[in-house]
């Protein structure tokens, strides 16, 4: 046993509906990840209610993560937390827990960017070195690539996020999330049985995207027509994923990178994976997709980011560890990326 020679970082993620704690070693080994997800009656996320949920489960999730990693609290040498972007009340809950823990243990506190964390865990898990990243989740839709010190944003949504678009449509269709089965997975399953393609608005502006018009049109079709739900799910997926693939291909053609990385909660969708794999192949790029357990929001990616940030001297004093609700991806220096 060489445990004593290793260094552990504990990461707390709480940007939206998930409260998650991950424990990672400096070598990048993920020892434990425990997540508790806030579920509401309506299916949407109410920031304050989500934050109350997080407050209730902090102790339980922390204990469970430490137990799974087979370490004691005193073994934790760095505490990292999602400093933003995200929903204020949720972020503050995670930040408060992280500050308390770090000052109690008297260890460095690292406030990290949630978006960079999604890219970094994708790179760690897939071995991608310098990819064009498509990051798709409930709250984000971003096409980014590294250039001179930072991840630059090439394209993003102009209104709602892709995951939000799918969730709202699903809710309108009467689908409700079940434990371990998000509505997006239900939409994917229904779509796989779709036959008829119903045209919906297709809005690509340069490398940016818009989903709100499409969502409205799809919802109208749901209410006013007799199309099968399978066919509407199929049409919705085909439309939004084609848009995502088109802008990713544009970023790939523009940057001439040799890897495509798909990350974030929506990355689990098989149809989206297939589409991106096709364009990657056409541009002779390697297609990488983040493993399922790191696709959704998770504490592991925050812990890993905490290690990267610590190794590059990006410490955050507690008095400067306030949360940043609208922290941009391209505001963060990433000195561990070479060139």
């Amino acid at each position: 046993m060489h445990r004593s020679a290793m260094t552990y970082c504990l990461g707390i993620e709480s940007t939206a509906d998930d409260f998650s704690v991950g424990i990672v070693t400096f070598e990048g080994e993920a020892l434990a990840n425990v997540t508790s997800t806030y579920m509401s009656e309506s299916g949407g996320i109410h920031p304050r209610e989500a934050a109350q949920h997080h407050t209730r489960v902090v102790g339980k999730v922390l204990r469970e993560a430490l137990r799974k990693a087979h370490i004691e609290p005193k073994d934790v040498e760095i505490v990292a937390f999602s400093q933003g972007p995200g929903m204020g009340p949720c972020l503050r809950t995670g930040a408060t827990a992280a500050r308390a823990l770090a000052s109690y243990l008297d260890v460095p506190l690292m406030g990290v960017n949630h978006l960079v964390a999604h890219i970094e865990i994708g790179r760690l898990a897939t071995g991608a070195e310098d990819p064009v990243t498509l990051f798709v989740s409930g709250g984000n839709t971003i096409v980014a690539a590294f250039d001179v010190g930072r991840y630059r944003i090439f394209g993003e949504t102009l209104d709602i996020a892709i995951g939000n678009c799918i969730d709202v449509f699903a809710r309108e269709a009467g689908l409700r999330p079940e434990e371990g089965l998000p509505v997006a997975a239900m939409v994917e399953e229904l779509a796989s049985r779709g036959v008829v393609f119903v045209p919906l608005p297709y809005t690509v502006k340069g490398m940016d995207l818009s989903f709100s018009g499409l969502l409205t049109a799809a919802t109208e079709l749901l209410r006013k027509t007799k199309y099968r739900l399978e066919d509407l799910c199929h049409s919705l997926q085909e439309g939004i994923f084609s848009m995502l693939t088109e802008v990713t291909e544009r970023a790939l053609a523009h940057t001439e990178k040799k890897e495509v990385l798909l990350t974030g909660g929506v990355a689990a969708n098989k149809r989206l994976q297939t589409m991106l794999e096709i364009i990657a192949k056409e541009h002779e790029a390697r297609f990488c997709v983040v493993p399922k357990q790191f696709a959704m929001d998770n504490g592991t990616m925050i812990a890993w980011m905490g290690i990267l940030a610590y190794q590059h001297g990006l410490k955050v004093p507690i008095e400067k560890s306030f949360v940043r609700l609208k922290w941009r991806l391209d505001e963060v220096d990433v000195p561990w990326m070479k060139r």
Partner: protein, 212 residues
């Protein structure tokens, strides 16, 4: 000869009745459903020449169209000699860059005044000819609109092109664009648009339906 393999279309340099032309081919995309693929390709093939024609009426140079083949989704157009603004912007002096960006802003202002939204304003879609003219190309994602939202998004794309490709002088570059724009469209509209751009930037980022 393949000039450029883009995401949306491939450009070929060809001889056509004794002229040097660009053949823009919108080849089928294997990742899209055939039905969706055909409708996107034919829509863009029809609309792009219309927008290019209107842009000339607005006083903004664009390549001359020679042939439109909707069935094959091909457009044959004039080949423009010159350099992409993207390639030469960093070779200019600060003052030269400001002048060029301001001139580009004037051209964008003219497009908008005539109800044309370019849809993909990047410095690779602007060609500086040896005569010092700027020719706008690639109207494939454009539309006709006079709405503040559409104009705001168009300028937002321009700003983002500066931030991702010319980050060293993104601020001064875009400010010069807006200066030229304002000269053509008036201060009021330019200011409203700057507000609109900020609004667009705010909502594209982590915004939940409850917050937003």
């Amino acid at each position: 000869m393949l000039l450029k393999k883009g995401a949306e279309a491939s450009l070929f340099l060809e001889q056509w009745h004794g002229r040097k032309v660009v053949m823009k081919k919108r080849l089928p995309k294997k990742y899209r459903l055939p039905q969706l693929d055909e409708s996107i390709r034919s829509y863009r093939t029809v609309h792009e020449p219309q927008l290019m024609h209107q842009s000339k009426e607005a006083g903004v140079p664009s390549p001359t169209i020679f042939l439109v083949d909707v069935e094959e989704a091909n457009i044959v157009m004039e080949f423009i000699e010159g350099d992409q603004v993207k390639q030469i912007l960093h070779t200019l002096t600060t003052e030269g860059r400001r002048k060029l960006c301001s001139y580009i802003g004037m051209l964008i202002g003219n497009l908008h005044k005539h109800g044309i939204i370019h849809g993909d304003l990047t410095t690779s879609n602007m060609i500086l000819t040896p005569h010092g003219k700027i020719v706008f190309v690639d109207f494939g994602l454009g539309e006709f609109s006079t709405e503040l939202e559409a104009r705001g998004v168009d300028l937002h794309l321009m700003k983002r092109a500066f931030q991702s490709t010319h980050y060293k002088y993104a601020k001064e570059g875009f400010e010069a664009v807006m200066e030229g724009y304002s000269d053509v469209t008036g201060k009021k509209l330019a200011e409203d648009l700057l507000k609109k751009i900020r609004e667009i930037e705010e909502r594209g980022r982590y915004v939940s339906r409850e917050e937003g």
